[in-house]
Symmetry: C2
Subunit: 293 residues, 2 copies
Amino acid sequence: MNEQARATGAKTDFSAGAAYNDGVYVPAAQASIPIMDWGFGKSDVTYDVVHVRDGAFFRLDRHLERFERSMAGLRMSLPHARAGIASILIECVRLSGLRDAYVAMITTRGMPAPGMPRKPSLMRNRFHAYAIPWIDVIPEDVQEHGAHLIIAKTLRIPPESVDPTIKNFHWGDLVRAMFEAEDAGADIAILLDADGYVTEGPGFNVFMVKDGEVISPDRGALEGITRGTVFDLCDELGVPWRIAPVTAEDFRDADEIFAATTAGGVMPASRIDGRILCNDRPGPISVRLKEKK
Amino acid sequence: MNEQARATGAKTDFSAGAAYNDGVYVPAAQASIPIMDWGFGKSDVTYDVVHVRDGAFFRLDRHLERFERSMAGLRMSLPHARAGIASILIECVRLSGLRDAYVAMITTRGMPAPGMPRKPSLMRNRFHAYAIPWIDVIPEDVQEHGAHLIIAKTLRIPPESVDPTIKNFHWGDLVRAMFEAEDAGADIAILLDADGYVTEGPGFNVFMVKDGEVISPDRGALEGITRGTVFDLCDELGVPWRIAPVTAEDFRDADEIFAATTAGGVMPASRIDGRILCNDRPGPISVRLKEKK
């Protein structure tokens, strides 16, 4: 129970989502980050997201493991051991009462204590988490007819600048690409790297199907846990798959295209840069994977 | 006066800094950003910083103009006209009682309203500002003996991904470089672009002196207002200057090196990648510029 609830004797309403905010449980909408935290002012932060479906976490251990790897990569650490983090996530879900939830865990750098040198290595890192209702990132009608996709002019931030295997909030390139999609009347954008290879889109991994085989780009993209799940589904359906370099040309010549994300599962596309795929409908392999999921 | 002050009748203490937090004035340490604001979760935010010295803003108009350009570049807008923003900044300084202050203005994207599509173009942008005591980014002793500087292995985020002329919080590359400096026992790091040209350091523009001329890199760096001030000082001192491509080699061969930032003025360096410049002391032209400032 948070301070306000204790003071008024009222029961806090967590039904729209519950958060753990550097030590205190609050309704998700009230969770906040100090403006002075480098997690905001320098986007010096990492996170991970895990799905709760029918009351159960999906592959929580793998997400916690990746989250710990991300923190180590940024030289962040928490007093909580892995079990401690898990119990905070579980408490967020319990407080919210949600059976299907989008659960995020976040560590920010923190801020210099008064008089402390401005060295990130000296700051106390802060932990936050929240569980909120499930939201499909792609609207239902787009899911139905298939997403219209463009290849953005904006290039993905390169690994030599920001390591894409450490989940981060550096979305400047991705938001810019979202505006490009909106301007083009498309639903989503995917981004190339400086060498012209396909990487990922805002919050999702991408896949193409060519001659019955599923191919996903080998660079610039997060080692998506959902991507791994897609390959598991391919194995179950007997569909061959591989991770390989994919150029913009390859992508435009694909038989089918789909995206996959923790937040939305498999999302088939029906157009790329205006070119119609599969009679302007989600392709057959994409649909089998989507329904399997 | 904020809610808490009104409720208790107590006078809020703004002496450690005052903030405007999306409509409410609060002590700077209490200012926060909702975790759900894209300004945090996607670093979808722009800002500017202006210096108050001896009670007066330094070139406020130029900073406000740049801030408005940055917002336009990200397709953000505020209900406040320029005079409205200025009056909020002035109120932050007045509340704090500070005669010398670091004053920041920040616009975040905001967040989707319930049921709203997740389109950044539809969100209400939020304005925040704060005035806090002046802090030199480089400690006094480093200022004295000259900073030890390294050229980081991490590359600056390229303009094709995130536009560096729009002030942003994408500091993943810069913080990574700060850790490189710390590991090398150096004070500060500067970053190259993918083609091997010098760009900038974490929060500062860089300059080299060669054969009596001041040269600052032509790429990858914010169009620094402080950089403009350095060129004005050069003009006053009769020191020639230019903006030009600068390679890592050029930089390592420089006679002098210095950095300049709104937060710290001119900061001379005395070593680069271990090489000693000017007998391990700030160079003569750097010192004249620093003292002039």
